[in-house]
């Protein structure tokens, strides 16, 4: 009996490792395939760090925007008793389900230079075509549903009793939001933000359509692949991982601790 149980434990462990290996196989391949000399050579090329700066800068702005507008939207989706709120939620779900390439194509129709919105942007010297602004827009659209729906989930999970008590003690909805809801939801909001960060910095589908320039890291990987082949493109993929991973890992660890 003990022998059978031991065998079962080992088989289960082996199964877990097999599943893990298969799922993280591409990452293992990436690390195994790149020679340190390739990384050094790729990063020594003139202007090699520019895409890194572009990606980090645009993702920070996109995330800042998402925190400002996505947090209240997530709160409304979670707490509002208005019936139409489900329609707003459906909109976010559609954005989540839509392939990023399609989002990019639709953004051309919405923000192209000759559309009403494009002309309005032009009048204030902004353009959503091959500009840093366009890159931020593409990243916002690719990352928004991950943050907004995550924020909604965070606010849904709040203890209604605590919020009701605050109301009884005279807190206005605004005070309740800033003094209770926001601090209590912070761990999960941080996790959602980390996922949104990974989506924003790795955004590609919408980016290749509306922001072919300026090259961020994903576009750098793509154009290098096309210009000189995969071997030269892979080091940039590794840089992308190195840059985008710490924040999600830190946020995940912190939110786990915060939630006990």
């Amino acid at each position: 009996m003990a022998y059978r149980r031991s065998l079962s434990v080992w088989a289960s462990l082996a199964g877990t490792i097999v599943i893990w290996l298969v799922l993280v196989g591409p990452l293992i391949t990436l690390v195994a395939k790149i020679q340190p000399s390739q990384i050094i050579s790729a990063l020594r090329a003139p202007g090699a760090f520019t895409p890194l700066g572009v990606s980090v800068g645009s993702a920070i702005i996109a995330l800042g925007f998402l925190v400002l507008v996505g947090t209240p939207l997530g709160y409304v989706l979670a707490r509002s008793s208005w019936r139409g709120v489900r329609l707003l939620e459906a909109g976010m779900l559609l954005l989540l389900l839509m392939p990023p390439l399609v989002i990019g194509l639709l953004l051309v129709f919405m923000l192209g230079p000759l559309t009403p919105l494009g002309l309005a942007l032009g009048s204030i010297h902004l353009s959503a075509t091959n500009t840093f602004f366009a890159l931020v827009v593409a990243e916002v659209y690719e990352a928004a549903p991950y943050y907004v729906l995550g924020a909604q989930s965070a606010f849904v999970g709040l203890d209604q009793g605590i919020l009701d008590q605050a109301s009884l003690l005279g807190d206005t909805p605004r005070q309740r939001f800033f003094r209770l809801s926001l601090p209590l939801a912070r761990p999960q909001l941080t996790s959602s933000l980390a996922i949104a960060w990974a989506r924003a910095i790795g955004a590609f589908g919408a980016v290749i359509i509306i922001a072919y320039h300026p090259y961020g890291l994903p576009m750098q990987v793509w154009t290098t692949l096309n210009e000189v082949g995969l071997a030269r493109a892979l080091p940039f993929a590794l840089v992308l991982l190195v840059v985008s991973l710490p924040l999600p890992l830190f946020a995940y660890t912190w939110s786990r601790r915060a939630r006990g």
């Binding site: 599943i19 692949l225 096309n226």
Partner: protein
């Protein structure tokens, strides 16, 4: 219970992966050992051939021959790099211009056949404020030289593809150089129209350029004549001496050149469809695919899609006899 679930899941996952691997396209080496009906023409082709290959030629070829067909479209140079590195293993490669194929010699192939061309045109947006003038030029009611003044005018939204990765992007840049010479325009007009080769205001991915043209978000853009026809876009035809569509004018085209981001200088080459078989083991499916394209049905499909089909020209050595026979 959990342990059993994990075990069953892992076995199922490995089995699914094994099935997926078996179901995926065979490499040339392995597929040569399979039976004829399981052979697949695995074609890597220039992105501009996507619609024609995947919607017309591929399915019709499969129906007529009984062989399978899988296609993959992308920039010709990018595909060439991937084939050279062994990252993809097509058995047929079709590029626009021979350079992406000759880069693979001698290890992957030693020959190619040219059989169709698709000249460069200037496609335009029928709703733009420039459209009336562009239409008059396309009808020959205004001199063609006028378009090259218009392209350089302030605020004109011109789109083109990346010359560092795409033969059309290179040819469009070189076409402007040739046009400036032909119409005795100031040399500075090249820079005025195009800016730097990878000008962020003009250069888009191939997918994006087509989308923007279709959405009417550019005043004009580079296109192959076949693309303009397939997308139902009005366009301005250009003379053979500058449109890169006539293989007999290769010398004229070569007089234009462009310096790429990697420092290399490329000279103009005719924009013809060149095809070859990858690997030195000729598979029946790959041979059959090329024979089909050079045959009446294939040539008709190219003509209907807006290509100019001409008598096949073979270049190189060790050309499979059956492919050559078909052309003759």
């Amino acid at each position: 219970m959990f342990r059993h679930v994990m075990l069953v899941l892992s076995i199922a996952l490995v089995a699914a992966l094994a099935l997926a691997a078996c179901g995926s396209t065979s490499s040339p080496a392995s597929s040569s050992q399979t039976s004829a009906k399981h052979e697949v023409a695995n074609v890597a082709y220039a992105g501009s051939l996507q619609l024609l290959n995947d919607q017309t030629i591929g399915p019709d070829f499969s129906k007529a021959s009984g062989y399978g067909y899988v296609g993959r479209g992308a920039g010709s140079f990018g595909l060439s790099k991937e084939i050279a590195a062994g990252e993809i293993t097509p058995n047929v490669f079709e590029s626009i211009g021979a350079a992406p194929i000759t880069q693979l010699e001698p290890s992957k192939t030693s020959w190619y056949v040219s059989f169709a061309s698709s000249p460069i045109v200037i496609a335009y947006n029928p709703t733009t404020s420039y459209a009336p003038t562009l239409k008059l030029i396309s009808q020959g009611k205004l001199p063609l030289a006028r378009v090259f003044a218009l392209l350089g005018s302030r605020g004109f939204l011109l789109g083109r593809t990346n010359p560092n990765t795409d033969p059309q992007g290179q040819a469009f840049y070189e076409m402007i150089e040739l046009a400036v010479k032909r119409y005795h325009l100031p040399t500075s007009q090249v820079a005025k129209i195009l800016g730097q080769p990878d000008n962020p205001a003009q250069v888009f991915s191939e997918t994006s350029l087509e989308a923007r043209l279709g959405a009417g978000q550019l005043d004009a853009a580079s296109a192959f004549e076949s693309q303009a026809i397939q997308l139902h876009l009005p366009y301005i035809k250009l003379p053979a001496s500058i449109n890169f569509g006539d293989p007999r004018l290769a010398r004229v085209y070569a007089s234009a050149s462009l310096k790429l981001a990697n420092g290399s200088v490329v000279h103009g080459v005719p924009l013809v469809v060149d095809a070859t078989i990858i690997g030195h083991h000729d598979l029946r499916a790959s041979v059959a695919f090329l024979r089909y394209q050079l045959d009446t049905a294939g040539r008709r499909a190219f003509t209907n899609a807006g290509y100019t089909v001409f008598r096949p020209i073979f270049v190189g050595s060790d050309i499979p006899a059956s492919v050559k026979q078909q052309a003759e």
